[in-house]
Symmetry: C2
Subunit: 236 residues, 2 copies
DNA sequence: GCTATATTGATTGTATACAATCTCCGCAAC
DNA sequence: GTTGCGGAGATTGTATACAATCAATATAGC
């Protein structure tokens, strides 16, 4: 999970932020819902002071929207937002893959291979609950993509990717993946690894871009299906 | 200047953050210096509470570094940091130029042309103080680059560029520009405008990348000259 | 019945008090 | 001299109190 922020991770109640972030990402506070400080403070077992700091930081990272004197709202996303986000992911992660091809270490490749294998094997594995399966997929995927970002050697790039990746998680992208689509995703992982082993940055970038844009299309299709089934639930 | 953050700008004491940011960028608190909350509070005429929030936000945007229980330090940058930053600027602003080529409006082009002209004319103009000249260059340049970012149509891209651009300003890059280099920079501006008018995204991106990487090289040369003249003044 | 205005309750924004933590310095032991 | 310990001062981190602001309802005027 290690996230390498400018704010030191071990911070005693930087944990408040981490927990808030997690609650937001996992949908405990659904997009569009109001975030009353007093309530968050009770949920997290602290006073409003650290909660406010966490909210300011979450706003700076785009997870919530702060309205002056009117409080925070868990950020909600339109289809256009998703397009923007995936466009940037393709750009940033593609670049990371390009840079990584020159610098990645054997250990990092091994870590990515382990994650890729875990994702492949999970196709034939049964999970207690669907939630557990989604959580597992998110985790292994984060290892795969996070390792590439780290291998790029550009610390700021890592931070940016972490920021932009948090959002699709709110949509629980993997929830929508079918077995076919997951096989394709796994194939992309192997292709990326192949290009990285060859040290072919252009190829690694191209495959990574396609991998991400393919994921975008799967998500968009499912979202369109969703929104046509149930009416819009945006609120300003 | 308009910055389009997730946090609404007009906020009453979001201004505290804006002022802190400015003090940092303009070097009033030099890189590496400790930022004691009480002192900032007095400088800004408020209590520690809003100062802390501003610091948290500044940390999230990479302007300062927060050490748990040990306070904030105005972030200092190594040569490697500058390399990272310019690499990302080339990526992000190049992409913005590519996108902008398809969507930019006549008004936006006109605004950019006005900024480009202002920069050209400033070469033969005399300023009261060197400070004023630097401020003018920074401002017009921000208009030129900010308009392209806005014209990309990707709101998140705008935010990211704003974040990454703040840093070189801390180095007062323009201080180091000589007349020759400024002429080249102006030429790039015209080339970018030309490509945008043609709607040629690939060309706009290529020129923008070169424009930024050229700026990087100028800055790096001056930094190297600096650091060889005076001994290192990094502190942890 | 409709619009405009005041009042109330809820919530945010700021200041301040206090607790927790760190740094620095002095002193002792070796 | 060097190392280790401990206390004082400074600074950060949190909680709480209060002021400022906003949303919603009630009330009055038309």
């Amino acid at each position: 999970m290690s996230e390498l922020y400018t704010i030191d991770e071990a911070s005693p109640a930087d944990q408040v932020y981490q927990r808030l972030r997690r609650l937001l990402i996992e949908g405990y506070y659904p997009p569009g819902s109001r975030l009353v400080e007093e309530r968050l403070a009770q949920d997290l077992g602290v006073s409003r002071t650290p909660v406010r700091q966490a909210l300011v930081r979450a706003a700076a990272e785009g997870l919530v929207h702060l309205f002056p004197n009117r409080g925070a709202v868990a950020r909600s996303f339109t289809i256009e937002d998703l397009m923007e986000i995936y466009d940037l992911r393709a750009l940033l992660e593609g670049h990371a893959a390009y840079l990584a091809a020159q610098r990645i270490t054997a250990e990092q490749i091994a870590r990515m291979e382990a994650a890729a294998t875990a994702l492949e094997e999970s196709l034939t594995r049964t999970f207690e609950r669907r939630e557990d399966e989604v959580h597992f997929l998110v985790e292994q995927n984060a290892i795969f993509h996070g390792t590439i970002a780290a291998a790029s050697g550009n610390q700021r790039l890592v931070t940016m990717i972490n920021q932009i990746v948090a959002v699709p998680l709110q949509f629980r992208s993997f929830y929508w993946y079918r077995a076919d689509e997951r096989r394709i995703s796994n194939f992309f992982h192997r292709s990326i690894l192949h290009a990285l082993r060859l040290g072919d940055g252009d190829r690694a970038r191209a495959v990574m871009r396609e991998h991400i844009l393919y994921g975008r299309d799967v998500l968009l299709q499912s979202q369109r299906a969703e929104s046509s089934a149930s009416p819009a639930r945006r609120e300003e």
